[in-house]
Symmetry: C2
Subunit: 210 residues, 2 copies
């Protein structure tokens, strides 16, 4: 039995990134589904291990790792095949900067705690929330489209950290009916990535509890 | 004359982080003040170099680097003294995860583009925006306080990436009158850091255009 445990939620984008990374690196793990709607991420025994009370958390090598970027960087250092973040400083900076467009400047504005706050504390209806949601994806994707390669993946022949972040974010964009026409390169790359087994197996519908 | 150029805005937290990093590493640079209120970050010649149209951008080694985390990681790889992100995988994962609480889960929710959207597109008054602002800092700081050391800095005897992110975020918290009493460790660490010359010289009031 594997002693690698991934505390995740089927619809969490950050969890989805880590599932792809684990699959690409061939790391066997057991999923511990953590239902955000039931607030299982705020249970005392979970918060004792992860004070932020968010998913994902990866238990590996005796450590409890949090934050998808930190987890993927750790996996890349300890299990470097295949490499997801380049080691050359200039290439690494470019990859991290592109990934942060999604990790910092799109996703945190659109996750569940944010949507709940807009609804419950700010009193917005679903239409206003949907507009908000699409606005921040559109703004980030406009920049990312300009930085996307004309052929191949963000990582070239093989996926890198940006590719891992892209697929979950495009899935969210489609769920909220964002028009993807302005982003032909992102659409093409997303399509190529979704055909890869490591990405397909990580899809939310594949890991959704019955 | 130094050929290192930092495109920044005096009140930008992400720029403030990079100023501290440059000072700690003793890298001489020229600041290129980029007035966010005048939308200079959306000027065509700037956006051609940084499609996101955000600050900071660091021109160094012939590269245009964006996103504070990517910039600091690059500086750490190419100018490793003093080290700001540990190289040991477990320590590195812990540092990145703590930093991401601020970089991804507090700051993007509170930056200028967000505050403008809440006001202009969502129709909120300043009181609602202030409450929003404080809410996300309080949530992130509650987690970070539990992860903060009882003595010393996040980086131990010398500042690390978390310390670099903390000081600008505490400055924002104070500006929006967040009660810091629930965060005694963060308050203590912030005070110790502010006494360091590299931090003091990077303070917004020190770089504010006349």
């Amino acid at each position: 039995m594997s002693d690698v445990l991934l505390f995740d939620y089927w619809r969490s984008s950050a969890s989805y990134r880590v599932r792809i990374a684990l699959n690409l690196k061939g790391i066997a793990y057991h999923a511990v589904p953590t239902d955000l709607l039931a607030r299982e991420q705020k249970a005392p025994d979970y918060v004792a291990r992860n004070p932020q009370g968010l998913v994902p958390m990866l238990h590996i090598d005796g450590l409890d790792l949090t934050q998808s970027l930190a987890i993927i960087d750790y996996l890349d250092m300890t299990r470097p095949d295949p490499r997801l973040i380049p080691t050359d400083p200039a290439a690494r900076a470019a990859t991290l900067a592109r990934a942060m467009i999604i990790i910092a400047d799109i996703h945190p504005l659109n996750n569940l705690r944010m949507l709940h706050y807009l609804k419950n504390e700010m009193g917005h209806d679903q239409a206003a929330i949907d507009t908000w949601y699409r606005h921040w994806i559109a703004e980030g994707f406009a920049a990312l489209e300009k930085l996307a390669p004309e052929t191949g993946l963000f990582g070239g022949d093989t996926p890198d950290l940006v590719d891992l972040c892209l697929v979950p974010q495009v899935a969210n964009a489609r769920r909220f009916e964002l028009d993807m026409a302005p982003y032909p390169r992102l659409t093409r790359i997303d399509g190529e990535l979704q055909a890869l087994p490591a990405f397909a197996a990580a899809h939310p519908e594949q890991v959704k509890p019955a």
